[in-house]
Amino acid sequence: MRECPIADLLDKRLAFVTGKGGVGKTTVAYALGLAAAAAGKRAIVCEIAAQERGSRIFGRSPIGFHETRVSQGLWAISIDPERTIREYLEVQMPMRSMAAILARSNLFGYLTAATPGLQEMVSMGKVWELTLNERKSPDAERTYDIVIVDAPATGHGIAFLQTPHEFRDLARVGPLAHQAGRIERTLADPTATGVAIVARGEEMAVNEAIALERSLAGPDAGTRFEIDRFYVNCLYPDRLSGPERKLIERVVKRSANESARAAEPALRAALEEATRAAAQREQLERLREQVAGPVAELPFLFAPGLGPEQLSRLAGVLT
């Protein structure tokens, strides 16, 4: 496997992880978090979805909208736009009690849902707040060296990353527009913000990864992001050389005696794996050819489930 140091990505304050649905974004986000923690950093993973997965991975109670320590040096939070808006109102507005009442009213919930980009904007605002050295939220007793965002999949991921730009365009005044401007500056600064795209050695996932880079780093992007790293996840090991595959194929075809037949299930399994590994590598090479960012490989984990141990293995490969 190629060496793929991620020191650069982990040296940033903010790292977004996106890619096609189901490719392992959350896994990579937490593995990056563990890698950062192992390097002595304080890291937090933000999940931007209703159904957080960190609690299952770490075998603990739901994480929710709290900065929750899940491992040595690693915290997690599940960002809920409604809770974030409420927190935002309470922190930003001079009249906290009233803001709290309003935030709970049906009407307010309704209006915030109707306001273009507001939910995405406050989620991004919360992510950004976590990166600050002087935190604003009421229970913020700690600061983080790196904030890793398990961002939404492809299309929504692009929209999410462009939210501050879009919002600033839409609303030119008010505290949120002001904040959007500050966030956009952070996002546009490649020393502060990084993006990792996760894919698999499959046609669709590779296509989406290529399209994502074009969209995020292309000339039409509102805020431009260079892609720091592509991770191709779940790659089967490349155990057999071409001639070895041919040799095994010949042996299977010959199937001379009983002893050879006893070997066949193993031989066929190895061939099948090699075929898959080759197909994955073809897609991997296609990705390498078509994107500007560096491409790193993550192994398929022959494990029954995903827990801290498997994540640590991935974190070890990431660095």
């Binding site: 096609k20 649905g21 189901g22 979805a49 209703a50 159904q51 299952r56 935002y88 109102l89 507005m93 803001a99 309003l102 009213s105 009407l107 307010f108 309704y110 209006l111 915030t112 109707a114 306001t115 273009p116 904007m121 999949a153 929209a159 030119r172 008010g174 505290p175 949120l176 527009a177 046609e203 669709m204 296509n207 090991p237 155990r239 057999l240 040799l247 095994i248 042996v251 002893s259 050879a260 037949r261 006893a262 070997a263 066949e264 299930p265 193993a266 031989l267 066929r268 399994a269 190895a270 099948e272 794996e273 090699a274 075929t275 898959r276 197909a279 494990a303 029954p304 489930g305 995903l306």
Partner: protein, 377 residues
């Protein structure tokens, strides 16, 4: 409990494939549609975001919201005679579908134009969570309503939370109805004025926060849509009744790894809670492996070493086999656990077939697993 899709879909005219992202829903939906067409049915499949090669091979390369017939010659080339069967396919275009809905319900050209240009509507039809789900349902209903097909198969949007799909139509209709807000937009009486002041406070707070003044857009949106609410509501009710009726079957699609299994079991619960007809479960991309013929590991090692005459290569082959067996066992355990969780329901298992399915022949190659026998005349 094993079963074949054709039996599961007996008397069913709508098949909805649900499941979390990345489990092969699109392929499964297309394979079911292709297999049913190969068995002589007139089938339409509504896909959300197919792989480009699959879309191209089905003749979906052009955008457009209409169904297109998959070239019968492709069946012939795959060695299948579909008899009177036809396969039609379409990709969901959310914005176009939403615009059609507006056009259909708008009382006049002027309201239609005002809605289509409204900022709130553009957010609604573009990005608001649930629009894609709602429009998928809307399209499904519209295609079904025309009565041109024996079966319509729906692939559902890749949402992280597969349940959004079930709640979306109701939520969206509630949004358009906007009961909380319409109250404030009516000419104020005495009671209304108090409420009106609440509205003014909330909206001014929001304006101060966001810098966006939405009052005008909102009021325009609700004025323009007020003539359409009845139509929307009635339609939503009919869609709901159709999905909950005997004509519909929901198939849950999942992968064999631990987490998708959890999600599938959870989804099964939700279908039950929502009183929606569950047709069965399809577990995709299962890792399988031949069991060893050798009596014990030592005999196997010897056999492999003897067959290859290369100790190092033999070791790698054995490592590969051991990993494959561990994976297959883990998948089998997960499937057992899932079967236990969902109770006695039809469960179809599709093995990992390596390469991605990207044409009609590939879809029909899934038939032995989905239909219990290969697609042959």
């Amino acid at each position: 409990m094993s079963a074949a899709v054709e039996e599961l879909l007996e008397g069913v005219s709508i098949c909805v494939c649900v499941g979390s992202g990345g489990v092969g829903k699109t392929t499964t939906a297309a394979a079911i549609a292709a297999g049913m067409a190969a068995r002589g049915h007139r089938v339409a499949v509504l896909t959300i975001d197919p792989a480009k090669r699959l879309a191209d091979s089905l003749g979906l390369e052009e955008l457009g919201n209409d169904e297109r017939r998959v070239d019968p010659a492709l069946f012939e080339r795959a060695g299948v005679d579909p008899g009177g069967g036809e396969l039609w396919a379409t990709m969901l275009d959310v914005k176009a579908t939403f615009d059609d809905v507006v056009a259909r319900h708008a009382p006049d050209e002027e309201s239609k134009r005002r809605i289509l240009e409204n900022r709130i509507y553009r957010r609604l039809s573009g990005t608001l969570a649930g629009s894609q789900e709602y429009m998928a349902m809307e399209r499904l209903y519209e295609i079904h309503e025309r009565g041109e097909y024996d079966l319509v198969v729906l692939d559902t949007p890749p949402s992280r939370n597969a349940l959004d799909f079930l709640d979306a139509p109701r939520r969206l209709v509630q949004f358009i109805e906007g009961r909380a807000i319409r109250l404030f937009l009516r000419p104020a009486g005495l009671g209304m004025r108090v409420a009106g002041r609440g509205f003014a406070i909330v909206s001014s707070l929001l304006r101060r926060l966001t810098g966006l003044d939405l009052i005008e857009d909102l009021s325009e949106f609700f004025t323009a849509t007020s003539g359409m609410i009845g139509g929307f509501r009635e339609r939503a009710t009919r869609v709901e009744a159709l999905l909950g009726g005997d004509e519909t079957a929901f198939l849950i699609v999942c992968g064999p790894a631990g987490e998708p299994v959890e999600e599938a079991a959870f989804l099964r619960e939700k279908l039950r809670d929502a009183d929606l007809p569950f047709g069965g479960l399809i577990v995709n991309r299962i890792h399988t492996v031949e069991p060893p013929l050798a009596a014990d590991p030592a005999e196997l090692s010897e056999a492999v070493a003897a067959a290859l005459d290369d100790a190092d290569l033999a070791e790698r082959v054995l490592a590969s086999y051991a990993d494959a067996r561990a994976l297959a066992e883990s998948d089998a355990r997960n499937i057992d656990r899932l079967a236990e969780r969902i109770g006695p329901s039809p469960l179809l298992q599709v093995p990992e077939l390596g390469d991605e399915v990207h044409d009609l022949s590939g879809l029909l190659a899934l038939s032995p697993y989905l239909f219990g026998r290969p697609t042959r005349p």
